[in-house]
């Protein structure tokens, strides 16, 4: 199940070069390249002649992609502009062109109805290239359905178990209440830990001398954008009321793009608001989070293997699942709405 009328992250901007590369997005093969004028281009990665991926071909001239098999050429709009050995170009010789936008060091793609592609709908990830933050990102290919990744990121209680030796902190699970709030297109999972000692890593960067108020706030937007806000301020200075002074904060930023029903592209970045020009620190924080993420990836992959083995095996839900369940319900509703709109369009066309 994929939601189509959303912007998804397709690539890191650094990946998009003159040399074409292919990636499957929402089950569709897409070829990416950068035209001579610097613009990123995304086309259907399947020659309509004999279905070779166009990403096996090469760029000729400024922005024309040539198929590796028989040399058919396509311009950036997807129109075939040359068929070797004949003058006439068959009318159906074209590939789909996808709207793309470069923002927050990511290339965003619109997989749905191009008429609805509104760039203002791109989820805000400004922390990645905001000069007031230090940030570093990465890409992971995950052998699991995208919603397993969403479930994981909306769930704070696995930290103590999956990440026992990395970022986990068992004490948090038992003593702090998690609050789940929801709206038509968002879920907010919030946990406050008031007037407690700061964890050692926080003391090191935040120079805290006494107890702190600590927060973990997970903001989910469909289909699969999760922005985690974590931080601490000296206790009693007003962070729970929205006034953050004298503390530190980090953002863990996640954009998951379905590749197929059982595999996903996982783009993420870690940003921090202290010592922002210290690239060595940015990298150290990034590496620490990456270790934890790889622990999660092992979990999703193992879950997916068992789901594939027997998709009907029963599962149970526990209180900690509320955030993930609300997110899935939003996706189910949006999917039903998209399908209903498509059916209505088809009916109108007939």
């Amino acid at each position: 199940m994929f939601l189509r009328n959303y912007w998804y992250v397709a690539a890191s901007v650094d990946e998009v070069k003159a040399k074409p590369f292919g990636r499957i997005i929402l089950g569709e093969p897409v070829v990416f390249f950068r035209a001579a004028d610097g613009m990123a281009v995304a086309l259907e990665d399947r020659c309509p002649h004999r279905r070779l991926p166009l990403s096996m071909g090469k760029l000729v001239g400024d922005d024309v992609l040539q198929c590796h098999y028989h040399g058919l050429r396509f311009d950036r709009t997807g129109a075939c502009v040359r068929v070797p050995g004949q003058d006439m170009i068959p009318p159906a010789a074209r590939v789909k062109a996808y709207p793309v936008i470069e923002r927050y060091k990511w290339l965003w793609i619109w997989m749905g109805d191009p008429a609805l592609a509104d760039p203002s709908q791109i989820c805000d990830f400004h922390w990645i290239d905001d000069p007031n933050w230090g940030a570093k990102g990465d890409y992971l290919h995950v052998l699991a359905n995208w919603q397993l990744v969403v479930d994981n990121l909306l769930d704070l209680t696995h930290l103590a178990f999956v990440h026992e030796t990395t970022i986990g902190n068992a004490a948090l699970v038992e003593h702090a209440a998690v609050k789940v709030q929801r709206g038509p297109e968002h879920v907010l999972v919030t946990r406050w830990i008031i007037d407690q000692p700061a964890p050692p890593t926080f003391v090191k960067v935040g120079k805290f001398t006494g107890n702190v108020d600590r927060w973990q706030i997970i903001d989910y937007r469909p289909p699969a954008f999760l922005r985690l806000d974590v931080g601490a301020t000296p206790t009693g200075t007003g962070a729970p009321e929205g006034k953050r002074v004298g503390g530190i904060s980090m953002r863990n930023l996640n954009a998951i793009t379905p590749e197929t029903e059982t595999t996903s592209h996982y783009f993420w970045a870690q940003a921090h608001d202290f010592d922002v020009k210290n690239a060595e620190l940015t990298d150290r924080i990034f590496q620490q989070i990456k270790l934890a993420f790889l622990e999660d990836v092992d979990v999703f992959t193992a879950q997916q293997r068992l789901i594939d083995l027997n998709p009907a095996a029963p599962t149970i839900d526990i209180n900690a699942d509320s955030g993930g369940i609300q997110a899935r319900r939003i996706v189910d509703r949006l999917y039903a709405e998209e399908q209903a709109a498509l059916t209505a369009q088809r009916t109108a066309a007939e």
């Binding site: 789940v180 509320s322 609300q326 319900r329």
Partner: protein, 106 residues
């Protein structure tokens, strides 16, 4: 003989409009919700799969289970939709100054 007794479970100021406040009397888990100025008390454990209803969603005089979306009427405990298949036990509430008391019969 069953015996009824009143138990202090919360301060009035602990109960935030639009949110359910969990409380306990011994092993008994109770949820407290204020609707139109009146505080109501009902069993906090969803009869369907034992989720805590106080972690669910209050909308007017209804509460929705956080896991499987069963809904109940807060003032009466009446089940409004599946997957739950029975009403919630409700408890009489009395406010004494800033204290919220519920009556438990056992």
């Amino acid at each position: 003989m069953p015996e009824a007794s009143w138990h202090r479970v919360a301060a009035v100021s602990d109960i935030i409009d639009g949110e359910a406040k969990p409380a306990r009397v011994g092993e008994l888990e109770i949820a407290l919700v204020r609707v139109d100025g009146t505080i109501h008390a009902f069993e906090d454990v969803c009869p369907h799969a034992y989720a805590l209803l106080s972690q669910g969603f209050v909308e007017g005089n209804e509460i929705e289970c956080p896991l499987h979306a069963a809904r109940f009427e807060i003032s009466t405990g009446k089940v409004l939709c599946p997957p739950a298949d029975r009403d919630l036990q409700v408890y009489p509430v009395r406010v004494d100054g800033d204290d919220v008391l519920v009556q438990i019969v056992r």
